[in-house]
């Protein structure tokens, strides 16, 4: 009988693990990934594969350099998830090196230089997206209309390879701006939203994702379903998604009510760009968000407010990546100030005395209603 290795209490566990958690998140992303692949064809598959391979190789290389177990490090699934999230936020027909540079940057600079899993300050995928957007604005903002698989306009396998790895120019006819980008350009030219939107935007298409955009961000419905499934499986909590979406909804409703010609309606905001993906899958990254409930709510509100501010008044049409990265930087501060109140202590950490009144009130009330 093997009696007792050195181990202290508790001698029980709920059975959850980091790799299971990451597996759930990956599974929840699967519908959005598949939809993106169907919508944008072979080039999207190529880009996804390149990004994932680079992420895993960089993770393995860094672990090996650091003298850690490569197998255990890869098994936790964090690098895979970073790769998927990054790929989902890229333009689907972007050249292969966008995925490769982004993946390498995410893992090496975004995560491993901080000390690996659990140590990074910024969400690696979003940090890489911000870097790519700032460094390669042309490649990162070349969007195209949906080219669904098996439809006449979809590129074949070889053509797909050429788009991703070759130098094929994407024909002008197939590209277009996202609704957020288009609206922003038109607004700058003092056109009213009532003129801009009707021909370019349809709420139903936006919801199911039949529109141009990043590989996996177009279908708000599929992302939302994945997010709700994660909530149901208790892989994430509602604090951040609800706070983030709520902040955008409140701000967008308020400004839309003030001036509907200048400010887009809240539904457009929620269904467009990477907001849904950000709220359920990116801002909820445990490593880079606060640990307490209050902190997470503040963090979510901050992310949502920044998204709205950047979209409306910033220099870029989309702001999820910037908003998340900025709030990541604020996380240590939020964690410092928003702690739960400890049992028997005041908010400032002093011992919390019980007043005679409270003591006797507790007795009086309980005794009064003391029925069996």
């Amino acid at each position: 009988m093997n009696i007792n290795p050195v181990a202290g209490a508790p001698h029980a566990h709920d059975g959850d693990s980091v790799s299971r958690l990451m597996g759930l998140v990956l599974l929840a992303l699967l519908p959005a990934v598949l939809y993106g692949v169907v919508l944008f064809g072979w080039p999207a598959v190529n880009l996804l594969i390149v990004t994932l391979i680079v992420c895993l190789l960089c993770e393995a290389g860094c672990l090996w350099l650091a003298g850690r177990s490569v197998r255990l490090g890869l098994m936790d699934g964090t690098a895979l998830l970073t790769g998927v999230l990054l790929a989902l936020s890229l333009p689907p027909w972007a050249p292969w090196w966008i995925g490769a540079v982004g993946g390498g940057f995410a893992i090496i600079v975004g995560k491993q230089v901080f000390g690996g899993t659990g140590q990074n300050v910024f969400n690696p995928a979003m940090l890489a997206r911000v870097m790519l957007l700032v460094s390669f604005p042309v490649e990162m903002t070349t969007w195209l209309e949906p080219h669904p698989w098996l439809s006449g306009s979809a590129p074949g396998f070889l053509e797909g390879l050429l788009i991703t790895f070759g130098h094929s120019e994407i024909a002008d006819g197939v590209t277009g701006a996202t609704i957020l980008g288009y609206a922003r350009t038109e607004l700058v030219m003092n056109h009213a939203l009532s003129q801009i939107l009707p021909e370019h935007y349809h709420t139903g298409f936006a919801a199911i994702g039949w529109t141009g955009g990043s590989l996996g961000e177009t279908s708000a419905i599929l992302v939302l379903m994945g997010g709700l499934w994660l909530l149901w499986r208790k892989a994430i909590t509602w604090y951040i998604p609800v706070a983030m979406l709520g902040a955008v909804l409140v701000l967008a409703s308020g400004f839309h009510w003030l001036n509907a010609e200048r400010f887009a309606d809240p539904v457009l905001h929620v269904l467009s760009g990477g907001l849904m993906l950000g709220a359920f899958f990116i801002a909820t990254d445990p490593v880079t968000s606060p640990v307490s409930r209050g902190g997470q709510i503040v963090f979510g509100i901050g992310c949502g407010a920044l998204v709205y501010i950047i979209r409306t008044w910033g220099g870029y049409p989309e702001g999820v990546a910037f908003a998340v990265v900025l709030m990541n930087a604020a996380t240590p501060l939020v964690d410092h100030y928003l702690r739960p109140r400890a049992y028997g202590r005041t908010w400032s950490g002093q011992s919390r005395p019980i007043s005679e009144r409270a003591k006797h009130a507790a007795m009086g009330r309980d005794a009064g209603s003391g029925s069996r």
Binding site: M1, D14, G15, L72, P340
Partner: protein, 488 residues
């Protein structure tokens, strides 16, 4: 009565079905009993018997030493064969001074007068009698019950909480005790109310024990002072602080006493022992122990003489199977891993568990913290377990104290939910050990400094005395010289 709530907590599978339907059975008397002198909080007891001495059942073996201590009595009649070191019920496996008693199987009781009616005695006398019977908190805290009773009366406690929550998984000894001996528990509670001079008692039981709730309700329906409450099952509802919060909404002030809230918590087993002591004059010499776990052939609830070895209990329950990965005293959440099966049952032993690897949750080695915050959500004390463990790793002792390490009660909820399988309570235990060591060192150096100062003061006094004596001599000399001059 409206219940309040407490923060955090977890819902481990209760596993009580393994043993909950087994009636209490009396363990056949083992040939040899091992009674450690330290089985309560406070100072170890002092032996009053000698090797070779024949003792009767219930006879005093060791008396209490100081205010916070408890006496020990012979669990059966027989001969004291040794007073020496024996493996203690602790993970370290270190030996503790222990009285070894060879039983003669006759079980003849020490002769004593039948005790007077407890309600005709003063509260002080009742508390003293509880102390003399060696009764300690039987929920596992092992704190001498008489000390708690008399302090609580002085603090003006208005409510006695009889704790039958039994929130630890597997353990069913309190459940069985309440089902089978409810009248005795209620009588013990009434005696404690008298000792406290308090007007009412709340009997708190988790709702996963409906039979116990019903039995207790039936037993106290004629006593208007007592109320039986069915609590929602959530670990650690049976912890005194959380139980007080559940019942009253009040929090024990950090660093303060539970009695500051006006409530005093005692385990149902303690109430039962008070009944035995005050009604029959029987000291605490046996208790109910749950033997359970996936590696035990037939889980049972046993009435066991103190000092019986874990192996005696396990053998009676059909032995331990090969897939036993963890042998515990207590429940899985807070229990002590045992160094072997040759370890005695003490007053606070509520369970002997043999768990399989799957039950003990030994799936994975620890991986890096991903800051998911589940430990923060689970902590019933509102602490930040991940930050505490980080401080412990970097040996930041002042930081860990500032984060409230002293508030942690090692309930294990944080580690239960940690997806990275980090053994958080072990970090906290390590930090506590280091801090205690630091305090000892500080006391030691303060003591040395004091001695040094005293020594220097002594030297200074001696110097001064010497100087004064020299001055006196000088003066005398001068005097003599003057006198001599005058004589010349």
């Amino acid at each position: 009565m409206r219940l309040h709530t407490f923060r955090g907590g977890v819902h481990p599978p209760s596993q009580k079905h393994l043993s909950a339907d087994r009636s209490i059975e009396v363990l056949p008397l083992p040939p040899r009993l091992y009674i450690p002198l330290q089985q309560h909080a406070g100072a170890p007891a002092l032996p009053v018997v000698t090797v070779g001495q024949k003792v009767a059942k219930g006879e005093l073996l060791a008396r209490e030493h100081g205010v916070t201590s408890a006496p020990l009595h012979a669990p059966s009649s027989g001969t004291v064969t040794a007073i020496g070191d024996f493996t203690a019920p602790h993970a370290s496996g270190l030996p503790l001074p222990t009285i070894v008693l060879d039983t003669d199987g006759e079980e003849h009781w020490v002769e004593s007068e039948p005790p007077p009616d407890p309600f005709s005695r003063t509260p002080e006398e009742v508390a003293r009698q509880v102390g003399a019977a060696g009764i300690v908190g039987m929920g596992g805290a092992n704190f001498p019950a008489s000390v708690k009773l008399s302090k609580a009366r002085q603090a003006g406690v208005h409510t006695l909480v009889v704790n039958g929550a039994e929130c630890e998984p597997y353990v069913t000894c309190d459940d069985r005790l309440m089902r089978e001996r409810a009248t005795e528990i209620v009588d013990g509670a009434a005696i404690m109310l008298h000792a406290l001079q308090a007007p009412r008692a709340l009997i708190a039981i988790e709702d996963n024990k409906p039979e116990a709730v019903q039995a207790m309700r039936d037993a106290c329906q004629n006593d208007a002072r007592m109320t039986v409450l069915s609590l929602p099952s959530r670990y650690p509802a049976g912890s005194a602080k959380q139980l007080i919060q559940l019942l009253s909404g009040l929090e024990t002030p950090s660093g303060g006493r539970g009695t500051d809230t006006g409530l005093l918590v005692h385990n149902v087993g303690t109430a039962y022992s008070v009944h035995r002591a005050l009604r029959y004059g029987q000291p605490l010499i046996s208790r109910i122990v749950t033997v359970s776990g996936g590696a035990v052939a037939e889980p049972r609830n046993l009435e066991v003489p103190l000092g019986a070895l874990a192996v005696d209990l396990l053998n009676y329950c059909g032995g331990v199977s090969k897939d036993c990965a963890r042998l515990l005293m207590g429940g899985p959440m807070m229990g002590q891993p045992l160094p072997g099966v040759e370890v005695p049952v003490i007053k606070g032993t509520n369970g002997i568990l043999a768990l399989t690897a799957a039950e003990a949750g030994e799936a994975q080695p620890a991986s890096p913290c991903i800051r998911c915050g589940r430990c923060v959500e689970a902590c019933p004390m509102g602490l930040l377990p991940l930050e505490l463990s980080k401080r412990a790793r970097s040996e930041d002792w002042s930081g860990i104290q500032a984060l409230g390490l002293s508030d942690c009660m090692s309930c294990g909820s944080c580690a239960y939910v940690c997806p990275s399988h980090i053994p958080l309570p072990q970090y906290f235990a390590f930090a506590r050990g280091k801090l205690a060591e630091q305090r000892r060192e500080e006391r030691k150096s303060a003591h040395i400094r004091e001695l040094m100062e005293q020594r220097q003061a002594r030297f200074a006094r001696a110097e001064q005395a010497k100087a004064e004596a020299a001055a006196k001599r000088q003066a005398a000399k001068k005097q003599r010289a003057v006198v001599m001059e005058e004589e010349d």
